[in-house]
Subunit: 368 residues, 3 copies
């Protein structure tokens, strides 16, 4: 009974530190000034600048792209040829990553057969005994048949089993074949979602109407909200020259930053576009500089034999990269940041802190 | 020596605030009640609801999809035609994003040649002088040759160099050609990894056996774990009508939420599916509503001339979007959240806080 | 006036807790030791191990891949055939996800026509009345015409409208047709960006020169920085056997971890490669184990009829998955972690804590 009573006493007694009030204006001033600094820091930096009171969420995004434009190439080896979207956009789906063909090496009418290897130190031969049947060097173009045949009037090379005739990719056109690609335009449709905040938005703003969309073109100053980009404009904003990039190809990033502050009004949340070359343009530190890949179109001759046209396509791959973080007031980060700030405030209440500060001030005031 | 002694004294002296014990039940009650509130908040909200003691990691995911089904179209312009997966799924690989063709405009037997432009205000002409050789309007279909030729019995338009005959894409079928696509099914295989926690899981749960997988179909109530989805079901759960969406196409998100609490038992971590239309279906605020793209199939005639079949394909692109955050007990977030909470508790120990609270309580008790 | 004076007094008065200095070496030692522990924890664990003072950012990445190698298949059903990159890499673009064909089932010369269904319990028939015109079972291969025709000398099945002849995919070659694919190599070019820190880097390090790149091959011990990987090596590092995986296909993840500490010198930030099989190799819990998809090549016969070659391709999809978090000193996390730590330190100043600790120590020292 007495134990219970004392226990209740312990629970309901309020224990508080005895405090001492020092009525010195100097000490009081230093104290309040330091408090002010801490509070200013907390309110000004943690809250206003860094938004420490916010919960964050990462963006989920979907992108659809549609390229428009056509070109006419009149280089000799491809005859005169007209190119439209179905020809030069690979793959055609208009995903978040699309490739625009700008330069090609075409090897038509390849069939599965035998032909002399391209002349390299290891393929040049003088007699059949220089070639090994079944040998396949990864750097060569096919499997040796063991014969040494005439490559040209002056050279003999080992015969290989391959898609013949072999591709000769050393004569890449100096000027991009589809130089006109710089005037193609691309419409980028981008929808984003912040699932934690149930926030959904598109890069085509509500105030943009259909007739504006039909004629506009992105420009950072005059048309910052237009989602239609001229390829030349994208490349030049990334600090590159379209024509020189088009020769050997490259990868170009279209970065869409959806960093949003969802606390105030949703209107503050809009996409910020930037452009950046993503591959290395420095040629002395890379194998296969630029961007190219080989693909083939398969045909059947009337007698059922399979032939293909091999295309080594150079071009610019545009990667639409969407990133961003949305912040919104959340109780946990607020508590955590405020709690941390209070810890600092309580430091100021310690006599030792104020004493140190006072001594520092006195020292500096004397030296001045 | 004396200095060292006093220094040791300073180091080993324990300095603690003098405290005052107030044996007032009212004050004690207010004090303990406030403490209780703070503790309740910390335990209840920060720990239980927000799981502030957890470290988090973002998901890494791989998706494989496989569509099944076939359809028969009997619209007049494409003759009667049978469609299977290799025909209507583009690209065929079954990536995290797959496209099901539902409606098409076919322009067969195009060749590189000359033909009259489609009649528009700018292409209609009366004499050759209305057309400029080499002129190419981005909105037209080719490069003008400078001639004015008969488009029909009544109209003359400028001749262009292009893939001829030109595509006429104004007569889109009102009813989706592949209406039967609504009964296609898709199997989605999804593996996720949380690298920080070395956690690995698939959306095909261990308890699912092969025979169940062969016959099941996702249904939120009866079969919530089945990874096979009927396309019609996906579209209707997203609040759309398959047949009307199939006409002009669209983009549909299959969202898989892998938010997991890895603290308790791993069995709690399972995928939650949701479906959402990602493009804008509102037609008055968009160019090119829906989703379509052009692709071509290239052929060679027996005499070696290249022809192509141009296909403008409309359809639904399904984007499988995997997101989620896993949380697991971590020492740093626990310390940080607990530390912040202690700061608040120490506030309660201040006499000024309790005094304010007491006055508030007295004020309210008097007014009532 | 008097009010203002007292108000000023209140503002400038410095209120500090009265403290009591206890000159007991035992108490002082316990106090300082506990302080030391807390400080050690904060400095050692939160700062050094967990880097609690850092702000973090997620990686943005672009990947380009290029496969090299050729193979020769001599299985009977495909005749002798030479395969190069344009044949076996699908899609050809060299994206972050690429597929290498290793085994195929080819069904050439399919046309839109009628043929007997493959014999299954539901397709075997004895008379026309067993087949329903227009009936299409999702598990069958086409739409029934209502006729019962000879499938073989001994069996009759319902006739279907489909791409004929039908694919028979039960005779998958036991040994992967492109077994030589294990010696193909892939060059992975990966650029990463941490937008918050304006940090940009490639997986081809500055010290790597062009001649090294031409001959090197990734090896964890001898060439850890070489971005060229032999497919066999990738698969074996993931704990799988290439030849057995090649038969039915699979999905293999090439994980690149770009976790970086950007505080010290940027040289510490380099990619760490790891490999992991992502699909389920356990065959008793999955429909369609492995990885395959169907695609077709379309041809036109001289008389204009469309035929296709249907290919069911099995192979390994390589997904390059880039992840990572960069950390750099940030003022907000520093404040928050330090604040939390200070809260713990202030706990030690409480007499109740020290009393408890003293009692514990006394208790243990007596029992020993």
């Amino acid at each position: 009974m007495g134990c219970c009573h004392s226990c209740l006493h312990y629970v309901l007694d309020y224990e508080t530190p005895k405090t001492l009030v020092i009525q010195s204006k100097a000490v009081g001033f230093v104290f309040r000034f330091t408090q002010l600094l801490v509070i200013l820091y907390v309110v000004g930096y943690v809250c206003v600048v860094q938004k420490g009171y916010q919960e964050t969420d990462s963006v989920i995004s979907t992108v659809t792209t549609k390229v428009k434009g056509f070109a006419y190439s009149n280089t000799s080896d491809l005859e005169h040829r007209f190119w439209d979207v179905a020809d030069y956009v690979i793959p055609p789906q208009g995903d978040h990553s699309f490739f625009v063909l700008t330069n090609i090496i075409v090897t038509p009418n390849q069939t599965q057969s035998r032909c002399p290897e391209l002349p390299t130190p290891s393929s040049i031969c003088t007699a059949d005994c220089d070639c090994t049947e079944g040998h396949s060097d990864p750097r060569s173009n096919g499997i040796q048949t063991g014969l040494c045949v005439n490559y040209s009037d002056t050279q003999q090379t080992c015969e290989v089993l391959s898609w013949c005739p072999l591709e000769i990719d050393t004569n890449l056109p100096k000027h991009a074949m589809l130089a006109a690609a710089e005037n193609f335009t691309v419409l980028i449709k981008n929808s984003v979602t912040y699932p934690k905040f149930k926030f959904h938005r598109r890069n085509i703003m509500p105030q943009i109407n259909s007739s504006y969309l039909r004629r506009c073109e992105f420009n950072r100053i005059t048309d910052p909200d237009c989602p239609i980009f001229r390829l030349k404009h994208i490349v030049s904003e990334a600090g590159e020259d379209f024509q020189s990039m088009a020769v050997k190809g490259g990868v170009l990033g279209i970065l869409i930053d959806w960093s949003c502050d969802l606390d105030w009004w949703a209107g503050k949340c809009y996409p910020k576009y930037s452009f950046q070359r993503l591959d290395n343009k420095n040629p002395n530190n890379s194998v296969a500089p630029g961007y190219n890949f080989r693909f083939a179109r398969y045909y059947k001759t009337p007698d059922g034999e399979e032939t293909r046209t091999l295309i080594k396509g150079y071009g610019i791959r545009f990667d639409v990269i969407v990133f961003g973080t949305a912040g919104k007031f959340g109780i946990v980060p607020t508590i955590v940041n405020l709690g941390a700030a209070l810890s600092f405030l309580s430091l100021v209440n310690r006599p030792v802190t104020v004493t140190i500060l006072l001594h520092l001030i006195l020292y500096f005031s004397r030296t001045i």
